[in-house]
């Protein structure tokens, strides 16, 4: 029999610290598969953020720079400009990218830096115990919104893929999910497409991946997985928002 599924080479063969059913693990694997596909492992420099994905260097068999909270797109800008031959991506949570790092992502995107951003939206600050994030859904209870997010006081959740799509510097933007085989196979395709933009020097590419955080949502992994395809995907619509290249 032929092996039809194997661990990507770019993903270290180690146990992760992620909670059971956390989609960070799945998204890590898809990113590693894209790295393998384009053969960029040896020239990749990942830029890790602050959050549950902080241990990027422990899980990917690549070089990694650890950025201060929210600053990954600025750090990645420096890395890519200093080493234009490298493949540079950031991997950031929603607290990191859409809250403390709002300025850095918007300006890196607007400048059209030739980097790839993997944005993992789990509607909460996972690592620190489930506080409200800019992406928390209206009505969602978190440790800092115990009665549910109140739109009148807290605003509506920010749709980052749509917001960045409006910037001239953005070449590719898509929102994906990994909650079922169909969405997952599409996520795989879009992540590879985002990588291709950088490999071919076509500019800034952005992937927003919806992700389950069973622990802070107070749900078992299967219920959390269902929430991603349910109320999350209802508000954060999956799809390709911008695709400027001809390939």
């Amino acid at each position: 029999m032929q092996q039809v599924f194997k661990r990507p080479v770019s993903l270290k063969d180690v146990q992760t610290h992620f909670c059971p059913g956390c989609h960070h693990g799945t998204i890590h694997r898809l990113v590693a598969e894209a790295m393998d596909e384009f053969g960029v492992q040896q020239r990749t420099i990942g830029v890790a953020s602050v959050g549950c994905s902080v241990f990027l260097y422990g899980y990917f068999d690549i070089d990694v720079v650890e950025a201060p909270h929210g600053r990954a797109p600025a750090v990645a800008t420096g890395v890519k400009r200093a080493r234009p031959d490298s493949f540079v991506f950031t991997y950031q949570g929603d607290g990191d990218l859409a809250a403390i790092g709002t300025a850095e992502i918007i300006h890196a995107a607007n400048r059209g830096e030739d980097i790839t951003v993997i944005f993992v939206n789990n509607t909460t600050y996972g690592m620190t115990g489930g506080q409200m994030a800019p992406t928390t859904l209206v009505g969602q209870k978190t440790s800092t919104s115990p009665y549910g997010r109140n739109q009148a006081k807290d605003g509506a959740p920010i749709r980052m893929a749509e917001l960045l799509t409006q910037l001239e510097g953005v070449a590719f933007a898509a929102r994906v999910a990994v909650n079922n085989p169909r969405n997952l196979l599409d996520a795989k395709k879009q992540i590879k497409r985002a990588f291709r933009y950088q490999v071919e020097g076509k500019g800034f590419s952005f992937i927003e991946a919806l992700s389950a955080c069973p622990t802070n949502w107070g749900m078992n992994p299967i219920a959390a997985n269902e929430r991603v395809g349910g109320e999350m995907a209802d508000y954060f619509k999956l799809g390709v928002y911008k695709d400027t290249a001809e390939f």
Binding site: M1, F5, R7, C22, P181, I222
Partner: protein
Amino acid sequence: MGKIEIDELRCKGCGLCTIACPQKLLSLSEKINNLGYTPAEISDPSRCTGCALCAEICPDVAILAFKNKTVAHK
């Protein structure tokens, strides 16, 4: 014809593979692994098609999938 290998030490018992398998062959076992989780197990391996959807959905890369690619019946 297919086959999977579940790494019982890596499996965190999340159950996502159990809902992804089109053949409904997977469930969580009663035993407890070294991490304290109940790993997934396959009930009727002979019915596995090797579609690899269980492996794809697994957040912990705890499943490897194999397929017999010689069958080409019309």
